[in-house]
Symmetry: C2
């Protein structure tokens, strides 16, 4: 007989999920009500408003897709792309590759603009691709690459795309709530994110937002959207502003309670304060890691505060370190993905995980294990360096 599952209590400093605070877990466990209950419908409206704040947008179509971030990505592509379209996809990590898969599975062409993993998207290359492909419809890029910790200049990329009459699809899975993101001011046309990163909500939902230009494209498609589940023409009937909420699918009721609570917390902290907190803690973690002798993968100007990719000291079995962190300290950090697999660790400071306590735990545990394994690191200096930065 299989018995109830009781997980260990972990500290989550990987690339997500991040630590979910008790307030959000409590909200998650509130009594389930119907997905057409007037109380629930009213809460849906609040979630839309709170998401508009988080995205810094007035877009009416700002909702959580009832599935994880990869479904949010698919929601953007499947609604905006039609067979035969040309899409410029910027790849500087894992998720650009996934965008390519999305474009090609729709019978469209992906023009790839590739940059080295760990660097930002190169504007000059994108401009060249736009000039070479004047019939491009969409420019798609990742604002904050979770696989590398690199941030790209979303504002400049959007401006460039618009100069060439393209709309933009932006992956903000790791940036939403953790670093500056201004959908309307930057002119982002379609955007998707996740709940389990800097919002510190449980995984399973994907906030998205589409502006009027994007909605016009969706409404004027030549063909039906390939996916019934993700067809925004139908989803809008349930989430839309019109009084009649047409049943489309059963919303993940309790997950939405949790998202609501995570967004209330963000509103209470203030978006700019949350961005500042992520930067403050990044600087403290960085001070400690650099004092220890570890190096960052991403150049300083392009570094995401919430996702710190660092190189592994020579001769160290990186998987063993992660395993010992988990088993001895209940601490999760992330491995490298794709071309960075085995070469880096990814240390997340996302949402509720972005706290001084976590930084001190992570640095102490890492130092203890690395020194125990005979790695060449500087001993006894990481914590004082981090403490100093935390006090600034």
């Amino acid at each position: 007989m299989i018995v109830s599952f009781n997980p260990s209590v972990r500290t989550l400093m990987g690339p997500g999920p991040s630590d979910v605070p008790p307030r959000i877990l409590s909200a998650l466990a509130r009594p389930t009500i119907g997905h057409l209950d007037p109380e629930f419908v009213n809460m849906m409206d609040e979630v839309k408003g709170l998401l508009q704040y988080a995205f810094q947008t007035k877009n009416e179509l700002t909702i959580p897709v009832s599935a994880p971030g990869s479904a949010g990505m698919e929601c953007c592509f499947v609604n905006l792309v039609e067979a035969g379209d040309k899409v410029i996809v910027c790849q500087n990590g894992v998720f650009g590759g996934r965008m390519k898969e999305n474009v090609e599975r729709l019978g469209a062409t992906a023009i790839m603009v590739e940059d080295e993993w760990g660097t930002a998207v190169d504007l000059a290359k994108v401009e060249q691709a736009l000039k070479d492909n004047p019939d491009t419809k969409i420019v798609a890029f990742v604002h904050a690459e979770t696989s590398t910790g690199a941030s790209s200049d979303a504002k400049a990329l959007c401006a460039l795309a618009h100069q060439h009459d393209c709309i933009t699809i932006v992956d903000a899975v790791t940036s939403l709530g953790g670093s500056e993101l201004k959908v309307d001011e930057w002119g982002i046309d379609a955007i998707y994110s996740g709940t389990q990163k800097c919002l510190s909500c449980v995984p399973g939902l994907s906030p998205v937002s589409f502006n009027e230009k994007a909605i016009e494209i969706i409404k004027n498609r030549k063909s039906k959207v390939n996916s019934w589940f993700l067809d925004l023409n139908l989803v809008m009937g349930y989430w839309g502003a019109n009084a009649k909420r047409a049943y489309h699918h059963t919303a993940p009721v309790n997950a939405l309670y949790a998202l609501h609570e995570s967004l209330v917390i963000l509103q209470q902290e203030g978006l700019e304060n949350s961005w500042a907190r992520h930067t403050h803690h990044h600087l403290a973690l960085r001070a400690g890691l650099e004092a220890m002798g570890l190096e960052f993968v991403v150049a300083e100007n392009d570094r995401l505060p919430q996702l710190n990719a660092v190189t592994i000291p020579e001769g160290v079995d990186e998987a063993q370190v992660r395993s010992r962190l988990l088993n001895e300290y209940n601490l999760e950090i992330g491995a490298g993905l794709g071309s960075l697999a085995g070469k880096v660790w990814r240390i997340g400071l996302m949402g509720h995980s972005s706290r001084g306590e976590n930084i001190l735990l992570c640095l102490s545990a890492l130092e203890a294990i690395l020194s125990d394994m005979g790695a060449k690191i500087n001993i006894g200096v990481a914590i004082p360096a981090a403490q100093k930065a935390l006090n600034q």
Copy 2:
């Protein structure tokens, strides 16, 4: 400022979600851990085993899709259907129509076999369609129509499909855990369900199961699966038996805790006992409703115990009744969908909602409101009739 959301405590006797018991809500709120944490991966294996029990199958590919039932439906169609295929879709309610949408959006042809809403799928019509369309690849039908409360003979339909060299896709959203369902014995090739019906888990996940024949079709597709998110060739890398769990998407960790707990509860009760409990309570509710003078939509032999569609007494504003049930008794029952909208109520007795207390509450509240509104019903006889049936 928007504040935390605290829903009223409802009794859920609509078409789902059903009442989620405290044990499952507690499991849902356990601390989030990483989606690649060894403890989590071990729990995933348990979920697979427990789902195999619930589905009565040995199918290795038995997993929950990380999205609601409509995504589970789409997962079956998008993986098994290719452009140009011919699929027989049996429609006797809302969900057959959704299957048609799925088939057509994949560039395939849906041969519709239509039956009146509230009746079972007619085997003779399906046989004729198979004879008329010898190049059919798949027969798709709904085992338990949530929109009408009609059950169809899944075993006979599968046998018929196999005689004509077709595989089957079966919608078991409302049957899983609530009424007899035997995937292997009946020869179901692909099946999807939901968590928020007779499993009484929160909405948001869709258990699916595919047998070897279905997997062969998926592995030998001419074209890539249209959806990256639902591509089982990729999903199998994360949920598969192989030691290396390849990252595909971030699993909805906490929702899976809840599903695990709901399946542990099912295992403890015993599947046959759960089926018997649903039937027992259906008979009690039926005794009460019929004593009151209400009539069932579905003929006795095809009636689902867990979803009771009853006609509305003449001259009664059905929406007002539902609204009063919700506001005065915190009790949710369902409206009619599609061609039954405004004509029926759907009273669910699913999972944890299938309890004697709920039946007595529902009958008392309905009697009080209907008599207050001057409806022609029999007074004072429903509760004794239901009590008598409950005691049998």
